[in-house]
C-alpha cells in the first residue's frame, strides 16, 4: 500500500460508520462486562432493590460511566440496525429517512436515560 | 422474413451496407465478425451454444510461433509467426507472452536440433538455442537430464477471452451476437437462414445478403443444410489439465509433432496434450482413458512429478482439418481455405475450412476479402493494426 497517497475520496462515510461501529463495539465488550458485573453479579440476587439503585447512581463516577455506556450501546445498536436495513438496498430517499429516524431514536433513548437517572438521583 | 440491405437490382450496386450472417462464435467466426464490421459491413453472429463452446473453447491455448510447423509445413509456420507478431500489437495485455521452449533430452532430439533451428531460420521465427543450465534456471521443473533447448516466441491465450476480444470490438462497432440460436435450415440463394432460438423455443427466418459458415469441424454439416459440400476432416484430440502451473513457458518436445508433446501453462494450471484421431461426429467425442494415460506419461518425461499435481480436467474436441489429397491426422495441413459455394450452384454461402486459432485473424482477413469481392465492396482490412477491446466488454449472449 502506497502510504503517501491521499485517502480515497468517497470513503469518508464508510470509514466513519465502520470505525464508529468497531470502536463502540470494542468499548462495549469492556463496558458490558463492567455494567453487568456491577449491576447484576456483585449484587445479592442479581438485581438491586430501589434504594441500592439510587445510592449506586448517586456516585458521580458511576453516573458518568453509566451515561457514557448508554450513549455507546445506543450508537452501536443503531449502527447495527442501520447495517441490516441498508442491506435491503434502500433508495437514497429512504436511506436519508433511515438515517434521520435512527438518529432521532438514538437521541431520544439517550435523553430518556439521562432524564430518568436525574429524576432518580434528585 | 426479408433480407436486410439486399443488393439493389441486378448490377450489384449496393444501396446500403450488405448484411452478413456469420455462423459460429468460435475464434474464426469472432475474427470474421470483427473484420467485416471494421470494413463497414453489417454482421450478425449466431451460434447454437455460447461463445467458444466448441473447438476453440477446448483449445490447448498455445499461441504458436510457428516453430512447431517450421520443418513440416513452412507456409503455416510463417503464417503463425506473422499472426503472432500482429496479436502482440492488437491483443496487448491480454495474453501470457512468456515464450516457449523446445526441449530435448534424447539423442534423437539432439539429432533434430539442427534441422529445427534451420527450419525456424528459414521461416523467420526467432529461435535461440540455450544451454541446459540456463533452461533449468528458467524452468526448474523440467527434466534435469535435458541436453538442449530452443527458445521461441510462443505464447498462451485464453480461448474464451480470445473470442470475446474480437466479439467485443465487433459489438462495439455494431455487430449483433445471437447465441443459443441453432441453424436448422439454410437457403443462401434466397438469403434465408432458418434458426431455432433455444431461449424462446421459436423458429425464425433470418435474412442475409450472404452467409459465412465458420463452424470448424461442423462446416460440412452446416454446408449440407444448403446442399453444399465441404470436405473437412474432424480430427479429435484430448487435452489433460493438471492442478499446478509447472512452467511459465510453453514446453514442446524438440521433435517433429507427435502426441502429448506440449505443456501449456494457463493461470494456475498446465494443459497437457494432445492426441489426434479422426472422428465421424464432432459432437460428444468420448475421452479414451488410454489417451489420458499416454498424455500424462509424455508430460511426466518432460516435467517429472507433473502427474502428482492431480487431474483437474479432461477435454476432447475435434480440430477441423482441411482435406488435401494423401494427408491426414498429424500429417494433414493446418492450412485453411475459403470456399465460395456459388460454382457448385449454392449462391450466397462461403465456408472457411481448416486453420487454427493462432491464425484466426488471417483467416478472417481472407474470408472478408472474399465477402467484399462478392459485393464489390471496396474496403481495406484494418485488423492488423487495430487494437482489440478488452474481452471483459464482450456481451456473450
Amino acid at each position: 500500500m502506497k502510504a503517501k497517497a491521499a485517502m480515497p475520496s468517497g470513503s469518508a462515510r464508510g470509514v466513519l460508520v465502520w470505525g464508529l461501529q468497531a470502536f463502540s463495539g470494542v468499548l462495549l465488550v469492556a463496558g458490558i462486562g463492567l455494567h453487568w458485573l456491577a449491576q447484576h453479579l456483585v449484587v445479592e440476587g442479581g438485581l438491586r432493590d430501589y434504594s441500592q439503585v439510587v445510592s449506586y447512581l448517586r456516585e458521580p463516577l458511576v453516573l458518568a460511566l453509566e451515561t457514557s455506556f448508554l450513549v455507546v450501546v445506543t450508537t452501536h445498536a443503531l449502527l447495527g440496525l442501520r447495517a441490516i436495513l441498508m442491506d435491503l438496498g434502500p433508495t437514497k430517499r429512504v436511506e436519508r429517512l433511515l438515517n434521520l429516524g435512527l438518529g432521532l431514536a438514538g437521541i431520544g433513548a439517550v435523553v430518556y436515560g439521562i432524564e430518568l437517572t436525574l429524576e432518580l438521583v434528585r | 422474413m426479408g433480407a436486410r440491405g439486399r443488393l439493389d437490382g441486378m448490377n450489384g450496386r449496393v444501396k446500403s451496407a450488405p448484411y452478413v450472417i456469420v455462423i459460429g462464435a468460435g475464434s474464426t467466426g469472432a475474427a470474421i465478425a470483427h473484420d467485416l464490421t471494421q470494413r463497414g459491413i453489417r454482421v450478425e453472429v449466431i451460434d447454437r451454444g455460447g461463445v467458444a463452446s466448441g473447438t476453440t473453447g477446448h483449445n490447448q491455448g498455445q499461441l504458436h510461433s510457428g516453430a512447431r510447423y517450421a520443418a513440416s509445413d513452412p507456409e503455416s509456420a510463417r503464417e503463425c509467426m506473422a499472426e503472432n507478431r500482429i496479436l502482440r500489437k492488437i491483443m496487448s495485455g491480454g495474453l501470457e507472452w512468456n515464450g516457449g521452449l523446445f526441449v530435448g533430452w534424447t539423442e534423437e532430439h539432439m539429432a533434430y536440433l539442427r534441422t529445427f533451428l534451420d527450419a525456424c531460420g528459414t521461416c523467420g521465427i526467432p529461435a535461440r538455442e540455450i544451454s541446459s543450465t540456463e533452461t533449468l534456471r528458467l524452468e526448474p521443473r523440467l527434466n534435469a537430464r535435458i541436453l538442449a533447448a530452443v527458445e521461441v516466441p510462443d505464447a498462451v491465450f485464453d480461448p474464451y477471452r480470445f473470442c470475446l476480444s474480437f466479439l467485443a470490438t465487433a459489438q462495439q462497432a455494431g455487430a449483433l451476437l445471437r447465441t443459443f440460436t441453432e441453424v436448422v435450415d439454410l437457403d443462401p440463394s434466397q438469403g434465408r437462414v432458418t434458426v431455432e432460438c433455444h431461449r424462446t423455443g421459436k423458429r425464425e427466418n433470418l435474412g442475409a445478403d450472404l452467409v459465412v459458415n465458420a463452424t470448424g469441424p461442423w462446416t460440412g454439416r452446416v454446408a449440407a443444410l444448403a446442399g453444399a459440400r465441404v470436405d473437412v476432416e474432424a480430427s479429435a484430440g484430448v487435452c489433460v489439465t493438471v492442478g499446478e502451473r509447472v512452467s511459465n513457458r510453453v514446453l514442446n518436445v524438440l521433435a517433429p509433432p507427435a502426441d502429448g508433446d506440449i505443456i501449456v501453462p494457463l493461470r494456475r494450471t498446465s494443459i497437457l496434450g494432445t492426441t489426434s484421431w479422426p472422428v465421424a461426429d464432432p459432437d460428444g467425442i468420448p475421452v479414451p482413458d488410454d489417451h489420458i494415460e499416454e498424455i500424462l506419461d509424455m508430460a511426466e518425461s518432460m516435467v517429472p512429478g507433473v502427474r502428482a499435481s492431480g487431474l483437474r480436467g479432461v477435454m476432447a474436441s475435434a480440430r477441423p482439418l482441411l482435406v488435401l489429397p494423401g494427408a491426414g491426422g498429424r500429417a494433414a495441413s493446418r492450412k485453411f481455405s475459403c470456399i465460395d459455394h456459388a460454382p457448385e450452384g449454392v449462391d450466397g454461402l462461403i465456408s472457411i475450412v481448416g486453420g487454427k486459432t493462432t491464425t484466426a485473424r488471417a483467416m478472417a482477413e481472407k474470408a472478408a476479402d472474399l465477402v467484399c469481392a462478392r459485393f464489390g465492396w471496396t474496403a481495406e482490412c484494418r485488423t492488423q493494426d487495430m487494437p482489440l477491446l478488452s474481452p471483459r466488454l464482450g456481451v456473450s449472449l
Partner: protein, 115 residues
Amino acid sequence: MWFRAEGSVGRWGFMLHRLTGLALSLYLGVHLVLLNQLRAGPGAWDAFVRLMRSPLILALDALLLGAAAFHGFNGLRLTLLGLGWAVRWQKVMLWASVVLAAACTVWVGARMICG
C-alpha cells in the same frame, strides 16, 4: 435474503452475529422501557425485581448473556478481520467465540442456579 439455513461456518457466524445483534437491540429497548418502573418508586420496583427473579426470567437472562458474549467475542474477531488482520484465522476465531460464549453462559447459569 441474508438469512438462509445453508452455507459454510463463516456464513453461520455472520447470521448468528446478526441474530444476536437484533436480539440484543430488542433487549436494549425493553430494558430501557422497564427501567421506567423506577419512577413509580420503591414499592413498584422491588415488586418488579421479585418478578424478575423467577427461574424462567433467569434462564432467559443466561441466554441473553450467551448471546451478548458471542456477539462481543465475534465482534472483536470482525474488528480484526475488518482491518485485514488475521484473516487466515477467521474460522479458528469464530469457533473460539462460540466456545467462549458457551462457557460464559454455562458459568453464569451455574452461578444463578447455585445462588
